[in-house]
Symmetry: C2
Subunit: 413 residues, 2 copies
């Protein structure tokens, strides 16, 4: 049974950003993810797509002819089509902008200018507009015009170097994180920037436009903790450490008998004593080479091998149970199936059943961050191409049926 | 030459969040990162530490007796000490709260209640307070009290399963991303939630308290793109794909002669033609097995082997130059040294020299997101323990020297 069909939640309120209207001139992941987060928090989002649709509509697996991802990626959005190369489209965008608080875009830097949607034109339409621009490398600087590819940006941000086994331990390449991490993190930062600029506008009583500039490379680079200040003071270059942590042991993934990887974090003296006892070798915790964290870090290879040999004799779910009973923090590396079944995710609405007209009952992730204890279901799922053309063009711009038909005939919408 | 010493920037404005005051009851990474982001955007942050200091002061490498990370992690913050177990501390916190717009904390769920800092007490001190709580699993649900370890949370969020080579290709464990990704992403979400709730408060004209609840597990889980809706509709379980992307080829990291990993993203037909020509094998792009992306994905192992063999004969920097000249998106996997030297990061103030009284001239990362084209230097670097006790207790609470001395004697500060 679905726990909710798309609708405002029981309080009748869409979230803290209710009352905010955002225009998305976005495609792929970063800008659409930013507006999805704003929509999740209650903002009204109008997404502009080319008449052939955002490519993400076709990305990943298909179900009943549609990408399931789209249901989530475009939820709480109204989708309209516009061929931005047509002169009429520019006027429509500027008309919509006059009704919006913010614009989020991820065209290549300068591209909107070339389409006539300059900063001046946008601010003439809406003087207190907040414009958020997401790009590979930022809106200025010598590298701004390089083509933006996620895997390239993540590597320039310094993350790819770190997602690897220690130097010399394998010939395999450093792994990709497995998701478009840079795009998503850039999207969260863009949402933060939009809301911060809008807070300032409210605080000042209006009239305060702003421009938010988020680079994929810089979003990734922002995650590197102490790496830059340590390099700047000491010249030390952080290196990858595989499954472990360079300053703590034991903490790693160990393969159980049935092939499941189980994370075990026993990197304090009391936790390690519990683990050693569970392994049937309580004296390990007394040996000088394993007696404290510093010693364990020095002998981590031997330690990991012993824990690995022990884990390899036990099935993953049994191993998880033993570790939980012993009070040692541990978990299997969750697949999406494990996430979907997790009681905590389910209890907090982070995995929820939703009715989608294109798919039937399906699963959506919940809203992060949760605000006021509410876990609102989506108000709508990702719509079909141009589904909201009439509603938006009539509702906001006052076009009549004949006007919309003319736009359709000339290929503008 | 440092490009700036800590000070407000030339416009005299600290950022869009100037005028906002935030109290941090945080430690380790997540809550302090959230407040660092708010401080970077102009908020005034007061951080409360136990008298022995936040453990991060000792984390990672040391330079002149101090962790360089601290200079960044606590920049733009005023640091005061309080032993929260002492009854007097509770009154001081509530007194400070009355002067603050928001509180960010990452104690275990319920811990602040046990210290007498209940929601009711906090709201009595400041009726329109925004409270952001960051935890491993969230503030409610059957799993809220499990101990929170970053590596465990990231695995439960579904990311660790994906940071691996394809099943069967290695016995090595899935890698850790190399940074505390879950903590950092949770921190960004918390900052977003705080500002969203404060926007609502301003919009409503005040009086609107809020509680923001961010879980590390859920923050990671939010990054999984289409994995959940695909599982929910099709039952498909996303699997790790090593250095590549399952739906595009060639895109991977290839090791140059000098051991440097170079990312090459030539996964469109025109890009692959350029790469094949550069490799001296233009006919590759005409072979049926490599003629389009679908075919290349099917034969990706053979393709990666050929590109790898070619790359292995050329030094990394030469390879980068050849690929750039040929118009094929590529980059080495940046180490922190590469990041620090990058002209684009330098031009945009993302790598900047800063004067720190504890370290001298050092490197700080810049502010993400950039707003209004400004890249403000930090107003201050991470201070020593209790550096702001007098200023804050006198300035906000009106304590005199004798009162502060008494608190110090009784171990409260």
């Amino acid at each position: 049974m679905p726990d909710a069909t798309p609708s405002p939640d029981a309080t009748g309120e869409a979230g803290p950003l209710a009352g905010l209207r955002v225009l998305e001139l976005g495609h792929f992941v970063a800008a659409p993810f930013a507006t999805r987060l704003l929509g999740d928090l209650g903002a009204e989002v109008i997404k502009v797509e080319p008449p052939q649709g955002d490519p993400v509509r076709q990305w990943g697996a298909r179900h009943q002819g549609h990408a399931p991802w789209w249901s989530v990626h475009a939820r709480n959005k109204r989708c309209i089509t516009l061929d931005l190369k047509k002169p009429e489209a520019r006027e429509i965008v500027l008309g919509l902008i006059s009704h919006c608080d913010a614009l989020v875009e991820n065209f290549r830097p300068g591209q909107l200018d070339r389409l006539g949607l300059t900063r001046d034109a946008l601010l003439a339409a809406r003087p207190d507009l907040v414009i958020a621009r997401i790009s590979g490398y930022g809106q200025d600087g010598p590298g701004r015009d390089k083509p933006a590819f996620g895997v390239i940006g993540e590597a320039i941000g310094g993350l790819r170097h770190l997602t690897n086994h220690p130097p010399g331990s394998t010939d395999l390449p450093p792994v990709r994180v497995g998701v478009s991490l840079g795009d998503s993190v850039a999207g969260i930062y863009a949402a933060l920037g939009v809301v911060a600029a809008l807070w300032r506008r409210e605080r000042r009583g209006g009239g305060s436009a702003a421009e938010v500039d988020v680079a994929l490379t810089e979003s990734v680079f922002s995650l590197l903790e102490g790496a830059l200040p340590e390099f700047g003071t000491l010249g030390s270059i952080r290196q990858p450490t595989g499954g472990g942590i360079p300053t703590a042991a034991p903490t790693n993934a160990y393969r159980a008998r049935d092939g499941i990887w189980v994370l075990i974090a026993a990197n304090s003296d009391p936790l390690f004593r519990r683990l050693a006892a569970l392994m049937g070798q309580p004296s390990l915790a007394e040996e000088p080479r394993f007696a404290d964290n510093q010693a364990r870090v020095r002998h981590v290879a031997a330690l990991d091998a012993m824990i690995g040999a022990w884990a390899a004799g036990i099935d993953g779910s049994v191993l998880e149970g033993l570790l939980e009973d012993a009070g040692v923090p541990a978990t299997r590396a969750f697949t999406i199936a494990d996430c979907a079944a997790d009681p905590q995710f389910r209890a907090r609405g982070m995995v929820r059943e939703v009715e989608d007209p294109l798919h039937g009952t399906m699963l959506h992730p919940g809203v992060v961050p949760r605000i006021d204890g509410r876990s609102p279901p989506p108000r709508s799922t990702g719509p079909q191409i141009g589904a909201d053309n009439e509603a938006v063009l009539t509702g906001l711009l006052g076009l009549d049926a004949a006007g919309i038909a003319a736009l359709r005939e000339s290929g503008v919408v």
